[in-house]
Amino acid sequence: MINVEPDHLIRLQSITKVYGSGDAAVVALDSFSLNVAAGELLAVMGPSGSGKSTLMNILGCLDTPTSGRYWLGGEDVSRLSETQLAHVRNRRIGFVFQQFQLLPKLSAWRNVELPLLYRSGDHRRELAMHALDQVGLLNRVHHRPTQLSGGQQQRVAIARALVTNPDLILADEPTGNLDTASSRDVLAVLRELNQEGRTIIVITHDPEVAPVARRTVSLRDGRLVPEVAA
């Protein structure tokens, strides 16, 4: 039985994701269940092909499961339309990608402002500046991504994930494109944010991440490997 606690931000119940059909069908997630409490810093580890990316897409509301239910902040998001999912992503989730995914023609603060353009409300510049301040880049607000180091670019991306004040920050291999020093830098920022109360899920195969996380789960063949408490 799944333990339903009121402060569970995320409840995944028997999530199955199948790509393709017939003989070519690939089961990426097999009856996968997971609860994440608000305020956690969870690392999801696993070798490639273990279902990590699929889990990330479903957690990020970028894709819907073939079967099973997904509650995010008490809302069942497993059967929403594309437009409704877009609103959920904008309201509840901040993304950090391995490739940073900053728009090269926009300055740092314009990049951070982007998610705010897809919702109503003012003070976009102030909010963007505040988010950049949180990642320690207030002195780089007018720089283009190409004028920043990899670590700085990833911090801009974290600011962009923070700016909407989301329930969840979902980081997909955030250190995958960074050198060791920049990786530590980025992980320190994530840890700091978690200490301020943010719920963060890091999907990675980088063993450096695990010690930073409060809890680590491992995936293999679309299933959970028994949890190890940090």
Partner: protein, 404 residues
Amino acid sequence: MSLLHTIETGLRSLLGHRLRSVLTTLGILFGVAAVISTVGIGQASSDSVTARISSLGTNLLTVSPGSTFAGGVFGGGGSANTLTMADVTGLEDHQNAPDVEAVAPVSQGRESLVSASSNWSTTVSGSTPDWLITNSRSMAGGTFITPADVSSQAQVIVLGPTTASNLGAAVGDLITVKQIPFQVIGILASAGSQGFGNQDDLAVVPITTAQAELVGGVGSVQRIQLSSTSQATLGSAYLEANQLLLQTHHITNPSLADYSITSSTQVLSTAQAVTQTLTILLASVAAISLLVGGIGVMNIMLVSVTERTAEIGLRKALGATPGDLFRQFVIEAGVLTAAGGLLGVGTGLAAGYIVPRTANIAVTITPLPVVVAVAVAVAVGLVFGVYPALRAARLAPIEALRAQ
């Protein structure tokens, strides 16, 4: 995303690819400019044809020789001189044709006129005093041909103002046509000359003189001009003239008439139909270039969507709905075509100003084709922008994010 931000985002992206945006805009620009200027040229030529024919008066009927039917063989229209001075005399009878005001026979040919100082080739028409009425002309000096001139086959000539000045001839001078001396008895007032034929370059002699000395065909005339007493009586004048001619030509079946009667309004509508057809033809070619411009917009938008797959994916991940992305790309296409359309209007108006001053082609710009061309350009952009925009909206965010 608010409309303002969508437009801002679209503009930013267009400015990011300046050369590409300008080239795409050019396609629409030339399409719109071509539509405006060709329709303007068509409008101008239609106006000038209408003005010229209207200047003849709307109560004019022209009797022309029709097809002949002899020995089972039809001759083409105008193949025989079936009209005679007897027809003219008959039509002049106010008892039988009360609604016919003036009757002027015309037999004309191109002749060389020689004055003391120079020579000049022009159309010489043989006619009667009524010619002035049927052609709505007046005299600038001297007198027109009189009935006495007609009956006496007088060797007198009336010149158009252009002809007179080219010959250096004045009232009272002697000029020769085919080595026959003619006295200039009058100069016509100018009727203005626009377009093809020059209304001021002509000469008129008595019909009898023309038949005997110049054109030939004594007793027969090439055509007969009639004017009705007013525009309202044009119809009854037509019926009276037709009835009379059928009788004098001993024709019982009207469909076998060896003449035809056309009114100036008929000629006007025929001429208008011709210029309209030409205008439509020109405008169609221009419209095709507009269409090609639109396909250029679609092409560029497709390139833009493909190139920005990763950006589209990112925007989707950050919360852009399919609708947001659809609007963004449609607006980009719309901005491109609207800019092309407005610049095309400017170019078309400039062409309408420059062409008449350099190429001697009249251009009349009216608001309707301008508005229609811009509306079509924007519609083309939106229509051709829809498909690329749908592609952008339907991209799956995960696939798009992986594109990098």
